[in-house]
Every structure is written in structure tokens, then in C-alpha cells.
Amino acid sequence: MAATTGSGVKVPGNFRLLEELEGGQKGIGDGTVSWGLEDDEDMTLTKWTGMIIGPPRTIYENRIYSLKIECGPKYPEAPPFVRFVTKINMNGVNSSNGVVDPRAISVLAKWQNSYSIKVVLQELRRLMMSKENMKLPQPPEGQCYSN
């Protein structure tokens, strides 16, 4: 298996991420978040992309938010590093580069190793529906952070 997989992968260590990738591809969940490897050739399973579909009846409705998620070597013991690619105006997200402040998002601040990328994305989506966020004025659709 490893041989056919390809050149010297560290894959075996990251069973969790593998499971998550599979989950992302199979589209488990309610279809409002999606995630997958940023680069399918990435054997380190560190760089992921996520997608959140803006919840209805909020200002984010009908928008699709793209995110970059980096799972560090200590994942899942340590939380991933999450960054919005699509511009968004939301509490806990740095408005200039889209970085999600881990101290502001509860799942990141109180990370548990049972959490996953799916959980992070779903939590961010849930926060979009919160009263404090759901009406924040948003930048025009389709804009991305420059970094």
C-alpha cells in the first residue's frame, strides 16, 4: 500500500487526518461545509481547504467562504491554524488577512483532540448565525484576502 501510494509518505502517522479527508470527500454532514486537501498530492496532509456555505437568513446567505486550514504536526492535539480566504466581516476573524483568532473561537481556544476540521468549519458557520455576526455588513462578494 505504501509503495503504491508513492514516494516516502508520512501518511501512516495521520490516521485522523485521513479519516477526515475521507469524510470531506464523502460529504458527511449536512452539506453546508466542505473540506479537503488543498493539494491532492500533499502527503503531509497539512494544508487543507475548507468551504463554508453562508447560512440562510443571515448576511452571509448564499455566499461561499473559502478557508485555508493548516494542521500542524501536533494535530489533533493542537488546534489547526484557520484562515479565511474569502473576505468576511466576522467577530474573531482578522479583517485584514482573514486569520481566525484561535482565542476568539471557542472550539479553537478550547480545542480537544476529538475535534476535527469539520467541527471547526461547522462552528464557524454557527457563529455566522449568531446575533452578533449575522448582520455585520460584508464586503462585496468574491473578494479575497491578498495574502
Binding site: T4, S34, E38, I53, S66
Partner: protein, 554 residues
């Protein structure tokens, strides 16, 4: 080759053995794969060739989901699938799920809104010819602002609804929020010309089915609409946003003052539910409780209640008269509603709505008025009596004939006089005295000019005839210092009053004995001011203290 063919190594574990073989086979034959497409609401399975492009996939999807391909956004593993990609490129295999988002047209990105937006972003003048037809044709326009809504809807700047009425409503919401826009629109000569055409406006208003319903329920409103004077003034007011704002403020001020007296709030509420609410509803839900709309869109009603209020106040500094008309529109007794109807029609005779509106609030805010209102609410029968009094008609007629009276009403002296409960008491005494005089010495009355402008001079003493008659000559001296119109007006008023029988104002001092003592103990030594404040607030000490503190500088 295996890793190239597959999305990546990781999915391998789940179908490791098959991967090696399947991957080899996959690129060679266009295998049909089943891909599940999942939206937040639905899930469908699609069988497509493995090597199809995303575009083809979308076409298949659009048929099933009944949308257009450009409305579809496909997401797989956190990436948006672009049309020119292939499914394989993203590693979409048999049994995997792709997320679908169907973009609806709400958001600005909808292209179908472009035509209306493009038309809108042109100068409003360009769009106004179009708007001319639309307000009249679309029955769902809220009147008043309906026409503007039509205009404004076409000049909507980037509003994202395709539905015209939605567009309109959004525009109106924006208008509500943005007075500058309103001003701009108002200044548009076309708008002004349209607004200044009462017939057109009436047509527009009548065209609204809700308005029609409202009219059926409340015939007074049709009176308003059919009266060209009122319409004209309404339109004038509507045309001038500054004036409208001021009127709004006045109205709000008056209403808020009304609230502060015990019975007043109920009266206000009734007034609102009976008159304003249907008007506002007729002006569509967006305007809900929007006071701006109540002036702009249901300005007729605003004017309607105001003329009834103001007109009745004009001829009669008599504190009871104006609120009966107001209260009659508010209170639920049937007689009062007919009274207000007649009040409206008679008020229409005078052309003073605008000027009247401006000092409506000031009059309303006088404590005398408020105490009167209190009385009114306590005694609905009083209103009926008041209204049926023929003198009211005569007063209004006299006022209409004498525009000076209206000006005189704004005389601060009059207001201050009215605000003094003792002055009102004195007036009552005069009235009674006049009655006595009328029976005993009819010849004396025409030359009788009691001074309204002499507040405290009469004192609050016993309301006996002799006292009044003795006070009367003393009062004749005071008005000589006042202006001519004042005297005339007073004369007329008193003459009219002479025929009526007004109930006695319960002595406020007695009622507020306890509160007065408290205020005294607190250090408010001005007994008169205390009394006034207590009367104004209906015995509420805290409010009275605030009034006293607020009025000290003045």
C-alpha cells in the same frame, strides 16, 4: 501512476486493494460513476461519466435541480469546482459527495436585476418618465411615498431584488433610512410637479386597495382625500422634507406629551389604533410604525388628525375644545367619532392646517391642555357635550373668517395663559358670569372683554357670579394692553362660551394637597409652579419635579 490517477494516497486505505486496479482502469474507459450531489436541503444521485467536465456535470445537475448552470456552485473537498475542470481532476469518484449551492437571485450578484438597476443608476429624471406609469399601474404602491417608491425603486442603486415590488420596498426602506436621498428625490422637479397635482395624488392614493379598505372603514379619511385644501397642504408638506420633519417632530412631541398624563396614554393608543395604524398598514408593512411614513405616506391622516386637533383649537383657546376633537378621534365612543367627522369637515373649512400643525405641539404641551385632556379622559360625556355645542361651529367659522385668530393663537401670551390652570378656571368663571349676565343684563355682553391674558389676576377664588362680575371689570383693564386681535378673539370666544355650560375644574390645589406638601418639603417653594407641574403631570411627583427643574431657567 496510481497516485496520479487517484486523488491522493490517503483515500487508499479505504479501498486500497481496489485502488491499484481501479486507477489503472479509470483513465482508459469512461466509467460511469455515481456522484451524490448534496445541497443543504436535498440530495440527489447522478450517474455521469468519470471523465466529464464540471460543466457537463452542472448541466446534468441543473436539469434535476431546475436551476441554471450559472446558478450552480459545486464544492468538493473544500474547493469550488470550476466549469473547465474535470471531475477526475478533483478526485471525484464513485460514491463521493459533492456539495451544491444554488445561488438564488437575492444577492446583488444576480444579473437579472441589472436591467432595473442600470435604469435606476441613471439620473432619476431619466427614469421618472417610466416611473410615471408604474406608480399608477402598480396598485401595490403605498400611497404618498408610493409614487416616490416607484421612482426610487427605479433609481434603486444596486438593490438586489428582481421582483419589482421587492425592489420598491427595499428602496423605500432605504429612503426611510436616508433623508438625503429623500431630499434629492423631493427636489426632483418631476416629483414635485406630480406631488403638487392633488388629483393625481388622490388617484394614487385611491388606487391602493388597502387604502380603499381603510376608507371604507373610516369615511373621514375620504373626506380628507376629497378636500383639495387638505390635499394641497399635505402635498406641500410632503414636498418639503424639512417642513415634514418639523411637523413630525411636532407631532411626536405632542404625542409624547400626551403620553405623560394618566389618561392620555390610553387616548394616544386609541388614536393610534383607530387612525394611524390602519393608515400605516395601508402604507405597507415596511412602514410599520414608521412615523416618517405616517407623515409622508399617510400624511393625509396625519393632517387629518392634526387639523381636527388644531382647527378645533384655533377657534377655541378654550382648553376643552381641541382635545375633544382629538380625543373624539381617539376614544371609542360612537358619538365622538361622528363628532370628529364633523370636526374634520368643519376644520377643512379653514386653511390653517399648516400653521396650525406647527403650534399644535406647543399647545399640546401646555400643562393646561394636559389637565384638560385628563379631564376629558375622565369624562367622556364631556366630550359629547362639547361637540354638540353649537358654539364650536360658530367658533370655527369665526376663526375661518378671521385668520388673525390663528396668528393670535400662536401668541405666547395666550399659550401661557392657557397653561395656567387658574386662568382657565377664571375663564370658566367668566363663562358662568356671562351666563348670568346674559340672563340679567343682555346688553352688557357685547362690550364685555374679559382678559385671557391676565392669568393670575382673577385668582382661584370662589366661582360665584358676583365675584366674576366684579373681576370682569378689572379684567377689562388688562386686555387693553393687549393687541387688538387678542381682544376680538377673546370677545368672540367669551360670547360663544356664554352659551355653554362647562363643568367646574376640580380644584387642583385640593387634589394635589399631599404632593404639594411633599414638594414644599423638598424645597420647591414656588407653590404656583408646583401646582402647575403637578397638574401637568397628573400628580406624579417625580415627573413634576423634573418639570420644575426643567422650567427653572425659563
Amino acid at each position: 501512476m496510481a497516485e496520479n490517477g487517484e486523488s491522493s494516497g490517503p483515500p487508499r486505505p479505504s479501498r486500497g486493494p481496489a485502488a491499484a486496479q481501479g486507477s489503472a482502469a479509470a483513465p482508459a474507459e469512461p466509467k460511469i460513476i455515481k456522484v451524490t450531489v448534496k445541497t443543504p436541503k436535498e440530495k440527489e444521485e447522478f450517474a455521469v461519466p468519470e471523465n466529464s467536465s464540471v460543466q457537463q456535470f452542472k448541466e446534468a445537475i441543473s436539469k434535476r435541480f431546475k436551476s441554471q448552470t450559472d446558478q450552480l456552485v459545486l464544492i468538493f473537498a473544500g474547493k469550488i469546482l470550476k466549469d473547465q475542470d474535470t471531475l477526475i481532476q478533483h478526485g471525484i469518484h464513485d460514491g463521493l459527495t459533492v456539495h451544491l449551492v444554488i445561488k438564488s437571485q437575492n444577492r446583488p450578484q444576480g444579473q437579472s436585476t441589472q436591467p432595473s438597476n442600470a435604469a435606476g443608476t441613471n439620473a432619476t429624471s431619466a427614469s421618472t418618465p417610466r416611473s410615471n406609469s408604474t406608480p399608477i399601474s402598480t396598485n401595490s404602491n403605498p400611497f404618498g411615498l408610493g409614487s416616490l417608491g416607484g421612482l426610487a425603486g427605479l433609481s434603486s442603486l444596486g438593490l438586489s431584488s428582481t421582483n419589482f415590488s421587492e425592489l420598491q420596498s427595499q428602496m423605500q426602506q432605504q429612503l426611510m433610512a436616508s433623508p438625503e436621498m429623500m431630499i434629492q428625490i423631493m427636489e426632483n422637479p418631476f416629483v414635485q410637479s406630480m406631488l403638487s397635482n392633488p388629483d393625481l395624488m388622490r388617484q394614487l392614493i385611491m388606487a391602493n386597495p388597502q387604502m380603499q379598505q381603510l376608507i371604507q372603514r373610516n369615511p373621514e379619511i375620504s373626506h380628507l382625500l376629497n378636500n383639495p385644501d387638505i390635499m394641497r397642504q399635505t402635498l406641500e408638506i410632503a414636498r418639503n422634507p424639512a417642513m415634514m420633519q418639523e411637523m413630525m417632530r411636532n407631532q411626536d412631541l405632542a404625542l409624547s406629551n400626551l403620553e405623560s398624563i394618566p389618561g392620555g396614554y390610553n387616548a394616544l393608543r386609541r388614536m393610534y389604533t383607530d387612525i394611524q395604524e390602519p393608515m400605516l398598514n395601508a402604507a405597507q408593512e415596511q412602514f410599520g410604525g414608521n412615523p416618517f411614513a405616517s407623515v409622508g405616506s399617510s400624511s393625509s391622516s396625519g393632517e387629518g388628525t392634526q387639523p381636527s386637533r388644531t382647527e378645533n383649537r384655533d377657534p377655541l383657546p378654550n382648553p376643552w375644545a381641541p382635545p375633544p376633537a382629538t380625543q373624539s378621534s381617539a376614544t371609542t365612543s360612537t358619538t365622538t367619532s361622528t363628532g370628529s367627522g364633523s370636526g374634520n369637515s368643519s376644520s377643512n373649512a379653514t386653511g390653517n392646517t399648516v400653521a396650525a400643525a406647527n403650534y399644535v405641539a406647543s399647545i399640546f404641551s401646555t400643562p393646561g391642555m394636559q389637565s384638560l385632556l385628563q379631564q376629558i379622559t375622565e369624562n367622556p360625556q364631556l366630550i359629547q357635550n362639547m361637540l354638540s355645542a353649537p358654539y364650536m361651529r360658530s367658533m370655527m367659522q369665526s376663526l375661518s373668517q378671521n385668520p388673525d385668530l390663528a396668528a393670535q393663537m400662536q401668541n405666547p401670551d395666550t399659550l401661557s395663559a392657557m397653561s395656567n390652570p387658574r386662568a382657565m378656571q377664571a375663564l370658566m368663571q367668566i363663562q358662568q358670569g356671562l351666563q348670568t349676565l346674559a340672563t340679567e343684563a343682555p346688553g352688557l355682553i357685547p362690550s364685555f372683554t374679559p382678559g385671557v391674558g391676565a392669568p393670575g389676576s382673577t385668582g382661584s377664588g370662589g366661582p360665584t357670579g358676583p365675584t366674576v362680575s366684579s373681576a370682569a371689570p378689572s379684567e377689562t383693564t388688562s386686555p387693553t394692553s393687549e393687541s387688538g386681535p387678542n381682544q376680538q378673539f377673546i370677545q368672540q370666544m367669551v360670547q360663544a362660551l356664554a352659551g355653554a355650560n362647562a363643568p367646574q375644574l376640580p380644584n387642583p390645589e385640593v387634589r394635589f394637597q399631599q404632593q404639594l406638601e411633599q414638594l414644599n418639603a423638598m424645597g420647591f417653594l414656588n407653590r404656583e409652579a408646583n401646582l402647575q407641574a403637578l397638574i401637568a403631570t397628573g400628580g406624579d411627583i417625580n415627573a413634576a419635579i423634573e418639570r420644575l427643574l426643567g422650567s427653572q431657567p425659563s
